[in-house]
């Protein structure tokens, strides 16, 4: 039941000014799977992730070389429109970052700017569906016009997930989405991810090896900007091919 390749990264090199953050990274990411990225702090996981929806464009000094193809289309081509790209590649951040607006507006924001809804009812439907998919609808349905920041951390993060899926993306990127959450909220998000992967391709950066082991099908290990190894999660955590990976997963990193 090997899935189709959704994202294909080839020879990705990323520089921040003088400093090279990624070296010749090549990686295939399968559709409807959860792929985890692990590695020590500063190894380039976030950088890699942010290349996938060109969030790195925001940083002046960041230079990206190589190709990243989503469904065969290089997203770094000249005539690619980032707005469109980001519509298709959603992102969820480390710290929950709902807009300081109402819960409804938070989720309606994306469909609005992209003109996805013809009218009010359609918009409402999109919002409701997204909230349901993000498994938070029941908790907030009675207070859609309270501000998003009034929710608890875990709820906020699920709201952000609802926001991300409101524009119906193919791929969802998550950068340590649970690191600011307590174990219970984390468990909820993990369960949610499992649900979401049926519809979306999910790529998650995590610091917790246990989390990677729990949620992902494939895992990639980064070290000093190199993608050392990418393989089935089971293999990575039981019998990794590379010694560095082994040292990392067994906590012997030096």
């Amino acid at each position: 039941m090997e899935n189709k390749v959704k994202v294909c990264v080839e020879n990705l090199n990323v520089h921040y000014g003088e400093k090279q953050a990624l070296f010749d990274v090549c990686m295939d990411i399968n559709q409807n799977e959860i792929t985890a990225l692990i590695g020590p702090s500063g190894c380039g996981k976030s950088t890699f992730l942010r290349c996938l929806n060109r969030m790195n464009d925001v940083i002046d000094i960041c230079k990206v070389e190589g190709s990243i193809k989503i469904d065969g289309q290089n997203i770094y081509d000249k005539d690619i429109q980032v707005e469109k790209l980001r519509e298709r590649v959603g992102m969820v951040f480390q710290k929950p970052n709902p807009f300081p607006k109402s819960i409804f507006e938070n989720v309606a924001y994306g469909p609005r700017i992209h003109g996805l809804a013809k009218d009010k009812t359609e918009l409402e439907e999109i919002v409701h569906t997204s909230l349901k998919k993000a498994a938070i609808f029941d908790e907030v349905k009675d207070r859609l016009d309270e501000t998003g920041t009034s929710l608890s951390g875990g709820q906020q993060q699920r709201l952000c997930i609802a926001r991300a899926i409101s524009v119906n993306p193919d791929v969802i990127l998550m950068d340590e989405p649970c690191s600011a959450l307590d174990p219970i909220a984390t468990a909820k998000i993990e369960a949610l991810m499992e649900d979401l992967k049926k519809e979306y391709t999910i790529i998650i950066v995590t610091h917790s090896m246990q989390q990677a082991a729990r949620v992902s099908k494939k895992t990639g290990f980064f070290h000093l900007g190199n993608l050392i190894e990418v393989n089935d999660t089971e293999t990575i955590f039981s019998t990794p091919a590379n010694d560095k990976t082994l040292d990392y997963v067994t906590g012997r990193f030096g």
Binding site: Q73, Q81, R88
Partner: protein, 427 residues
Amino acid sequence: MNSNSLKISNENLKRRLNAERRFKFYGVIAISLALIFVLILFTNIISKGYSAFYRTLIEIKIEFNDKVQPEMFKQMSDTEINKLDLYSFSKKNIYSNFPDIEKKSDKKKIIKLFSIEFEEEIKTYINKNKNNLGNTINLYISASDDIDQIHKGNYSRDIPEERRRVSNFQLSIYDELVGQNKVKFEFNLPFFSRGDSREAELAGLGGSLIGSFFTMIIVLLLSFPFGLFGAIYLEEFSKRNRFTDFIEININNLAAVPSIVFGLLGLGILLNTFELPRSTALVGGITLSLMTLPTIIIATRASLRSVPPSIREGALAVGASKVQTVMHHVVPLALPGSITGTIIGIARALGETAPLLLIGMVAFIVDVPSSPLDPSTSLPVQAYLWNDSAERAYEEKTSAAIIILLSFLILFNLIAVFIRRKFETKW
């Protein structure tokens, strides 16, 4: 799944991208406007003022006669020479440089070509060269402010004569002198040493420079220690309660109170209640100190606050008392920030005019003050005063005073930036 390509842009997206471009363009315009303002302001002032830094001199020949002989100066001291009455001697000698001029009224006009202090200048020359004076000497003496302006090209000659301050006759003499190569420019050193004067060519910045200097010293001496210590108390020691909240709000408000209100304070309290001497750098300094104090307190508190609590905890945990912790660790780290704030505050005080007007530092003061208790003006006030004068030459002087003022401010700010850069700590 989204089948549409990442490239195909629909109407909606095109519209959005256009809006984006427009918005960005507004930003560029705004910034350009601001920058253009700066540019215009500086070019305007520099172009108006740079010529004040040199002055026009006219060469004349002086012949000594029986009554006034070179030898007699050799025995005399400087003061004795200065006390001599050489006015008519000088005047006659100037006339003799223009042998063709006969009419008395014309002669008067000739004299008007020169600075009113021509006698002094001749004396100064004699003083300087008293041991090797020949029978005739050639020296340059200052031109009058009008000729100065004309020679600098600041004053249009095309204005009809009746509205011009220089007559056609004078112009022709001037042209003749230029033709003889007898008119030259020189760096205007006296501009920096003289006090104010009703005669534009004699008015200098010296008095106001010293006045500003005294004022700033007082501001520094008063506002820095009080500001620093007060800030330390508020930030590090005061318990949070109504009273300290009140002080806090009070200080923040004080920083935004219009400067002229401080002038009223100076007038009402310092002059009227404490009867301190009017128009002095002392009162000006105290007034500006009070104005600067909140700035320094706020800057110091900000930099105290930016010292991470972990430093404090580290010191407390080895058994340092609170005072020790603050004095040994926190203050040294906050000092650069505090000093930067102080410099910037002082720079602001240096450029401040309004409060000084109210405490009488706006008087016409010829003497260069020798102590903070002497009546004096300050740089910006001097500029204000000159700006009020009608003579054309004062426009140039005003601009020049402003150039000096701005140079000081830029210098101060550069120092502040330097300190900030040098001691900047990222926690």
